[in-house]
Symmetry: C2
Subunit: 198 residues, 2 copies
């Protein structure tokens, strides 16, 4: 079966975003990462900054955001309305044609399609600590805590909306550890799977 969509789930600092960008360039197909949050905000009728904050503060991890912020007349929280928009936007993008989607539970949302290559990018702790400091600079919070916090939110969001654990090998077609495989070899393996259907 021909692959049309590549979903990339990734641990923070593992290089998943960079791999997605390089793949999009090499394969000549659209790439959605931050652009996806913009589309979701627009779909739900939210200001982009408000949407980003709510999406960042995963429900399940932060009961305040989930339970109290912005319930509408139907009793849906802001987080739930953003989730509904996320479902719609991701299905629409997948139907529009080949693309690469980073994060946002896209692997789960597109699980019933057989033209999706579901990738998980991870890396050793030290590799990721060094990478976030190099890319985003030092902050008052230790790199270790920044990684745990970001991945904790990703896992909580995934768990809350999909009922599944995040980062399990069987939920993906391929998991690559960039600390050992390297970003360029990861790109070339994924591109080869995209170009050579089984």
């Amino acid at each position: 079966m021909k692959t049309n969509i590549i979903t990339i789930s990734r641990q923070f600092g593992s290089g998943g975003h960079t791999i997605g960008l390089k793949l999009a360039d090499q394969l000549g197909i659209p790439f959605y990462d931050q652009e996806l949050v913009e589309k979701i905000a627009q779909e739900a009728g939210f200001d982009i900054d408000v949407a980003s904050n709510i999406i960042e503060e995963a429900p399940g991890r932060n009961p305040f955001v989930y339970n109290f912020v912005g319930r509408d007349a139907a009793g849906l929280s802001a987080a739930d309305r953003l989730w509904a928009a996320e479902v719609k936007v991701i299905e629409r993008l997948a139907n529009e044609g080949p693309c690469i989607i980073v994060g946002r539970c896209a692997d789960y949302l597109l699980r019933n399609r057989d033209d999706v290559l579901r990738v998980f990018i991870c890396a050793d702790q030290e590799f990721r600590e060094a990478r976030i400091v190099e890319r985003f600079g030092e902050t008052s919070v230790s790199p270790r805590k920044r990684l745990a916090d970001k991945d904790g939110k990703r896992a909580a969001h995934y768990r809350y909306y999909t009922g599944q654990k995040w980062g399990i090998p069987t939920q993906h077609d391929i998991c690559l550890n960039t600390a050992h495989i390297g970003i360029d070899r990861a790109v070339s393996i994924i591109a080869s799977l995209y170009n050579n259907p089984e």
Copy 2:
């Protein structure tokens, strides 16, 4: 860094053994799976059938085997003596030159070498159920229970001796889901990583 050793951890029924065999054939390097249990039994001075049974009944999963069977004068259980032999045999094989080692915590035991490619092979439940029935036939136990039992023992053995969870993406360089990637594409990805060091 050149890869010399490929370790393959695998869910039962995922095709890890077949992938190892095909790789060994393609790369022209030795392959150790059941042969490893024979070498470990010999090293520990056990009959192969006794060793196989004890190794199969993972300590941690089966406290009887661990706590009571065959303690020697030094108070080591038979399972612990086999583990000590396993450590020795795997280190010796890795020092002898390029090879492929299936199972037996080899990924963990060789973690301090930088010439090891650590592979995890998994697959969807339905794929594995069909595969074990095709390869090993029906038994009075359901395929689902056979998978859960075998993988439960592998996870318990791994957890007991390494202190780590089994089947976590970051503990491997690459995880492949054969239900989606297919056995032949898995072989070709691993062979390409072996032949093309970063």
